[in-house]
Structure formats: C-alpha cells, structure tokens
C-alpha cells in the first residue's frame, strides 16, 4: 500500500517536471540574448526547443504517411511507443503537459462532486470520437493533407501559448506596470519588468492576427474540464487514441476486490482517465492514464495494479474498448473522403503553369519548402510564430486553404523579416521550414538569396509620387543584400496639388534585389494602407510563382 502511495506522488512529480520542462523550452523559443554571441552574425538557439514534438508518435506517423519521409529526430518516439505497449496511456498521465494542464483545470472539490453526481465517470460511445479523429487524420495524411496539427496536444498547446497566452501575459504585465507607475510604485514595476520581460512575457508587446479563434478553442477546451474531467483526453485527443490502441495487449491491469468495495465512489471521483476503476463496472484499459489516484484514495484498499497476463482475476470480465470495425472503417473512409476537400478552392497546389494562389499575401517564412510539401509537413504548432523576434509570422485563416489553417504567414504590416535572422527554421519541428544558414538566406558565396516575395509601390499613395512630399523611409530601411538595395530612387520634379514644382526622389523596386522581407511596408508612413506592399510572387521556393523565367 505504501509503495503505491508513493506512485501517485511520483506521478505528480513527473507531471510537474515535464510541464515545467515544456514551459521552459517554450520560453527559450526566442531570440537568444547572450551578448557573447555577437561575433557570430547568425543567431543560434542552443536549446532543443522542439524536443517535445519529437516525442510524439502521432506526429511521427502522420509525417511519415504524408511525406513518405522519415525524420531522424522522430527516433525519440521509440521509447514513447514502448512505454505505450507496456504501460499503455502512462504517457498521458505522467508526461503530457497538455494533459497536466487539463488535470489542473479539472480540479476543485465542488466540481468533482458535481461530475460524480452527473455520472461523468461512465464510459460513453462518444469516447470513440477521438478514434474517429485519429483515423480521419491518418487517412487524410496518406492523401497528403496533414491535419494532425489542429488537435495534436503539443501543437495545440504550443500554438495556444504562443498566439494567445504569451501575448496576453505581456498585456497584463503592461497594465500592471501602468497601474504601479500611477500610484508611484515605479521601482516595483521596474523590478517586475526586469524579471519577466523577454522570458515570461514578450520582450515587446505583440499580437497575432486570427488569434481569436485559437483563443476561443483554448478556452472552450479548458472549460470542458468543468463538465468532465480531462474532457480533451477522453473525447478528442488523437494522440491518446493512438496510445490507447497500443493498449490492447498491455500487461498492467487493475485488479478489483469486489468484497472489499463499499461503493463509496472515491475512486470514480478522482479517476483521471474515465476508465471505470470501481468494482462492479468494466475496467477500460485504453482509457486509463495510470495516475494511481484510485488505488491511492481507496479507503478499503480494494484496488491494485498488477502485471498479469489477460484474462484478469475471477469475476472480472475482459473488456475491450468499443472500437470496432465500424469506427475504424468509418474514420478511415471519412478521412479519405474529407482530405480532397482541402483542395476545393485551394489552388495553391501547384499544377504547372496553372498555379495561382488564393491570396497573394500568403508570404511564407524564409526557408519554407514548396507549398505542397509545406502543407504536408507543417503541423501548425506556432513555434515559428513564437520565435520570430519581429512578430512577423502569424497564423493563416483561409489564405492557405482550409487545410492550411493556422500555418504561418508573414504579415508585413505587423512585423518584417529580419534579414539576418534564421530562427524560424531552427525551431520548426518537422522541417516544413528548413534550417537555413545565414549564408544561404543572404545569398553569399555566389548563391541567390532566399526571396519570400516582392514589393511594389502603390504610386497613388506614395508621398513623393502622389503628393510631391519627400519621404523615402522605405529606401532607407531596405536591407542591403548582395551589395545593393532593392529600392532605387528616381529623382524627379513633380507638381504638388497646390501647383508648385518640387524636387522629389521616387522609390522604385529593383526586382533583382528585393527579397520580400517586408520592412518597407512595415515602416511606410502611410499607416492605414501602406504605399509599398509585399506580395508572395517571386518566392524562391516556388518554381511557378514567378514573374519572369530567370531570377524573379
């Protein structure tokens, strides 16, 4: 008894450690600020921030199915799969940081009592929804539609933190600082900023377009824990479903002593997985997270986990989850039918000369692979959005088609691509954005630089062109790549609206040098609708999205 008592505590310790590790790695997914690195012009992240993703067998499997490519990083899933085969969903109970967060949000005496009263501990066929999700995702992946990122727990958590929680923490801190300053407690606000800015909160306030939906989904999913403990894990999580399917022959079983049981239901109240640990009900091994709460809390010591070959002790029926052929087939067929849906209206799958895009504003990060492959690899985790120091990368809504929802795109109005930064490729867990060197990005040593788009000047809005007012901020900020700026100035004399003739310099784009970084659009003084705009044509990663045959 005392040994198992320790197991529940060990489990809590394990959950805490992995959650803290996840959050620390998340916080480190950002610009490294070690001043000792200044001699290196390229920033290199030292921390393996993508490690959690490489533990995920669901990501590994869907990546393989979608790309027929095996990423060596995914070798880390082997111990996880072994763990699942031997101890089935222990991963859910002991490791998964999203699971831990759901666990925390499920707590509360009143909530647990209410859920017990409403019999939320019972298994329902609706639990199979997660298997349907799993098979739909896998089937779609076979057809090249990688939808795993929406409900994969690590992608979900990283994306929600990056796009919703982290910026919100920054806003909260800003509000707190303003309040403290207002009451004259500036040393306190200074201290808070020093401690938290750049790690817990963003260095500079940031926001993400289309974050509303991501935030809404996060709040919904967290709130559902009040309806049923670990709702996500029980009903939605495709990774949980995958690990559950490995449970069919797991040797660790829950043994129940029917005579000792007084039906106090304490085990049901604290059960995380919803696997019906009480005597008299069927135990469902594929739902159990092995949290050991039931054993821990039972006052009669009526429960115990043992290593045993099936079947279990006398009086207990062997129970298999109701994942019968109908569910599996339904999921697979559904996936195969749904996958092509993402192509309806999504003409950004390149088909020779007919390739054209839904949105010319779909500017992908530098180092992104060609679009069809990108959509197969990107798991919409948002790590690149978090890492980007200039708040340039944002989740798409429809720009990449429905199947590409929440993949990253550059929004120059909010942030530009720092020409000397390569962080997005360093943090991408699936190489949807390749890890490029700075030399590659800038096109040194005889290469062509990586272009993500091309700017154009709206002459009707540009101040020198349209009003005879001097400006040229765009030309000033344009980075020098391969020795020349992409914006060249044409001196001219123009007539102003009030009839004077003035000398101005008019910006024009030199296609050969423009890399589409977006800093011109970002800094243009015409704030509502910039007079110089970047679109994705000319991107190096695409053979077809070009203007001319040669470089652009």
């Amino acid at each position: 008894m005392r040994k198992l008592f320790r197991l529940a505590r060990l489990r809590r310790l394990s959950q805490t450690l992995f959650l803290v590790l996840f959050l620390v790695l998340f916080a480190m997914t950002t610009l490294p600020v070690d001043t000792a690195d200044i001699m290196e012009e390229a920033y290199t992240l030292q921390a393996p921030v993508a490690w959690f993703f490489h533990l995920d067998p669901l990501l590994a499997l869907s990546h393989f199915l979608a790309t027929r490519d095996f990423l060596l990083d995914f070798l880390w899933v082997i111990p996880v799969v072994l763990l699942a085969v031997l101890l089935n969903r222990t991963f859910c109970g002991w490791v998964c940081p999203l699971g831990t967060i759901h666990h925390l949000f499920s707590r509360g005496r009143k909530s647990l009592n209410r859920k017990l009263r409403r019999e939320r501990w019972k298994w329902r066929p609706t639990r199979n929804v997660k298997y349907v999700v799993l098979f739909v995702v896998l089937a779609a992946a076979v057809l090249g539609a990688n939808w795993v990122g929406w409900l994969d727990p690590f992608s979900f958590l990283t994306r929600s933190l990056a796009v919703v929680v982290h910026p919100a923490l920054g806003t909260t801190l800003d509000g707190l600082v303003r309040l403290l300053d207002g009451v004259g407690l500036t040393p306190v606000s200074d201290f808070l900023l020093d401690a938290l800015r750049g790690t817990v909160t963003p260095f500079q306030s940031r926001f993400f377009v289309h974050a509303f939906l991501i935030g809404g989904l996060l709040f919904l999913v967290l709130w559902l824990n009040r309806v049923e403990t670990r709702f996500w894990c029980r009903y939605l999580c495709p990774l949980g479903a995958l690990l559950g399917t490995c449970a069919v022959r797991a040797p660790l079983v829950l043994e129940k002593d029917d005579e000792k049981c007084t039906r106090c239901k304490l085990c049901l109240k604290h059960c995380q997985g919803g696997d019906q640990p009480i005597a008299g009900e069927n135990w469902i091994p594929s739902e159990c997270h092995f949290c050991y709460n039931c054993v821990d809390v039972c006052p009669e010591n009526a429960l115990a986990f043992r290593f045993r070959r099936r079947p279990a002790a006398v009086g207990e029926r062997e129970y298999m989850p109701d994942v019968d052929r109908r569910v599996v087939l339904g999921g697979l067929v559904g996936g195969l039918f749904l996958a092509p849906l993402q192509s309806i209206g999504a003409e950004n799958l390149e088909k020779g000369e007919a390739a054209y895009k839904i949105s010319n504003r779909l500017i992908r990060p530098p180092g992104a692979v060609a679009e069809p492959e990108f959509l197969r690899k990107c798991v919409k985790c948002g790590a690149c959005m978090k890492a980007c120091p200039t708040n340039a990368l944002h989740p798409t809504s429809w720009e990449a088609g429905i199947g590409g929802m929440w993949t990253p795109m550059l929004v120059p109005k909010v942030g530009y691509c720092d020409d000397r930064c390569t962080l997005c490729g360093q943090v991408c867990p699936t190489e949807a954005i390749r890890e490029v060197t700075l030399d590659e990005k800038l096109g040194l040593h005889g290469r062509e630089p990586i272009k993500i788009g091309l700017a154009y000047v709206d002459r009707n809005r540009c101040l020198p062109w349209a009003q005879g007012v001097p400006c040229i901020v765009c030309e000033e900020v344009c980075p020098t790549v391969k020795g020349e700026k992409a914006i060249k100035l044409i001196p001219d004399t123009v007539r102003t609206p009030d009839g004077r003739m003035v000398d101005v310099r008019k910006p024009t784009i030199d296609q050969e040098f423009c890399i589409g970084c977006g800093i011109c659009e970002n800094k243009c003084p015409v704030k509502d609708s910039s007079a110089i705009i970047v679109t994705c044509v000319g991107e190096t990663r695409s053979r077809y999205n070009r203007i001319s045959v040669s470089s652009v």
Partner: protein, 328 residues
C-alpha cells in the same frame, strides 16, 4: 443555501463580506484612485514639462571647444579628444546621471559602420565613470528590433562589465513635451534622457538617403518616439527642432569607420571606409559640418545644417571655433 457559511453573519469568527469591503476594498480603491490622479499629474508635459532639456555646461575655464583627432585606434582617439577639451571633468560633475546616446539603430556589426563603434562607446563610458558620474545609461531608441541591435552592434558587450545601465526603450517612458519647434510642436521624448543631468551624443558618420548624411543632429532622433517616419517630410526643420530643445552636453562624432553608400542601413563591407578619425565638440552644427568634409561635401548643401545655423543652434564654420586638430 450557503449564506451562513459565506460569512454574512458578523459573529461568525471569520471576516464578513461587509467588513472586508469596508476595511480593505474601500481604502485600497481610494488609495489607487488618489495615486492614479497623482500619477497622472506627475511628469505631465504641459508646457515643457518641468524638464531641464538644455544639457550644456557653461562657465568653464576651457580654451578649446572642438577637437579633431586623426589616425588612431578608437579608444585612443577618444582619450586624446577629451584630453584636449579639458578632460571629462569639464562636462561631468560628481554624482551626475549621464545618458550616453550612441547610434545603435540597426542590427549591423561594427565593421559595417551603421552603428557607433563599440570601443568608442566603451571608452567614453569609462571616462564618464572615472569623472565621478553617479549613474551611466546607454540608450538608443532603435529602428530595428532592440535586442538584436544592442547585441550585433557590439555595444552591449562592450559596456557590460563597466556597471552601466543598458536601457531598452519602453513605451511607457515616452512623455509628450511641448518643444515649440518650427516643424515639431509637441513630441514624445524619452523620460530618462529628459531627466538626465548630462547627455553625450555619440553618432557615427554615415551616408543617409534623405538626410544625405547622418551624424550628430540626425542621431538625436534616437531620443524621441512617436511617428518618427513623418519627420522625413521636413527633415531640414525637424532635426534642428530636436537639438534646439534637447541640447546635448557634448557631441562625439565617431568616424573610425564611415559608411559611404547605401546608408543608413548599410550591410556591405564595400560601402565602408576606415578613416580612423574622431571629432568632439560642444557645437552640434559645427561637428556635423566637420563631418561633411569626410564625405567631400560642402556643409552648406545639407539642409538641416543650414537650418541649424539659421536658428542659432550653432555654426557651420567649424574652422573658426576654438579648435585643435591632432594627428596621432
């Protein structure tokens, strides 16, 4: 159902809701409201805002107002220049809060000459500390992402062991000031700079598209916030407006490396010339006028320098000042 448990019963032992409200919430709210009103009044810009924006020193026994040093390494150039000016003690009093304002606007490396040379900044910081300053702040409101600028420029690293404060611009510290300029009327300035005792402007000499050459007066744009891009629409008036309001104690023009083309950003080493020169002076217009000679340009052709002289910010005739030229 749970009313009694929730403590509406005052004799219940715990704190009742009414008591809590009366004894804690009301006083706290009153304090916050009072503080909020006070906080709102503090540092209110209004007319000038109560800041002493003129950071010049006067009434010294010095005989030289400007020095040009050539042909040395950065730290040595700085030492010689200050030596000839009468030493840093001429400008810094014991306990002063000093803001060093280098150009850290871009995330370029020292050899690309888009920012001030880190060794120049370091030597000046060292001298300021030696002269007895109470607090030394290194600050620039950068154009590019702040951390990458401070690091790549080498400046963060150069000053990290000297005990200076590296200040990253924070939105909340910009205060609107009524500067009553020709072009700029009310504009946000950085509070730490406004409140400092001395401000040392440390520009780098570089070519600039609109301003033609970016030196001291242009570098002062790093102490303001707001919509700086709109200054481009009348740079000739905007720059003197800034320096007429916030008059630096000293301008030290770093010309160890200068950027000849594709400024202010630069990037290509082909655009850099190593000139190994430094000029320091109390007249910002004169220092900038000297800087023009490095690019073979007549200062009278530069709009903001002409305007600077017209509004009596200084004089273009740097040779006519009490000047010393040194070659190492």
């Amino acid at each position: 159902m749970n009313c009694k448990k929730n403590g509406l019963n005052p004799s219940g032992g715990g704190v009742s809701r009414r008591e809590f409200f009366r004894d804690v919430v009301l006083p706290a709210s009153a304090a916050l409201a009072a503080g909020g009103m006070l906080g709102g009044c503090g540092g209110d810009p209004g007319a000038g805002g109560g800041f002493v924006a003129d950071k010049r020193v006067s009434g010294t026994a010095a005989t030289t107002d400007m020095v040009v040093v050539r042909n040395g390494e950065p730290a040595e150039l700085v030492r010689q220049a200050l030596d000839k000016l009468g030493g840093m003690k001429r400008f810094i009093a014991r306990g002063d809060v000093v803001v060093l304002k280098p150009n850290i606007g871009f995330n370029r490396m020292p050899q690309q000459a888009a920012n001030t040379n880190p060794d120049v900044v370091r030597e000046l910081a060292r001298q300021v500390i030696e002269a007895g300053a109470g607090k030394v702040i290194v600050f620039d409101h950068t154009l590019y992402e702040a951390r990458s600028c401070y690091n790549r420029s080498g400046i963060a690293r150069a000053v990290q062991d000297l005990g200076v404060e590296l200040e990253y611009a924070e939105e909340r510290k910009f205060v609107d000031v009524d500067i009553k300029g020709q072009y700029l009327k009310t504009w946000p300035f950085y509070r730490e700079v406004l409140e400092a005792d001395k401000v040392i402007n440390i520009p780098v000499a570089k070519q600039h598209s609109l301003a033609q050459y970016s030196m001291g007066m242009k570098n002062m744009m790093g102490v303001i916030g707001g919509r700086r891009d709109s200054l481009h629409q009348n740079m000739d008036m905007a720059l003197p407006d800034i320096s007429l309001y916030l008059r630096p104690t000293l301008t030290v023009l770093d010309a160890y490396r200068i950027l000849l083309r594709n400024g202010p950003q630069g990037g290509s080493l082909n655009d850099v010339a190593t000139v190994k020169t430094l000029a320091a002076g109390i007249d910002p217009v004169a220092v900038d006028a000297f800087g023009c000679t490095l690019f073979d340009v007549d200062p009278a052709r530069i709009g903001y320098i002409r305007t600077g002289q017209e509004v009596n910010l200084g004089t273009m005739d740097w040779r006519g000042l009490r000047i010393e030229e040194v070659s190492l």
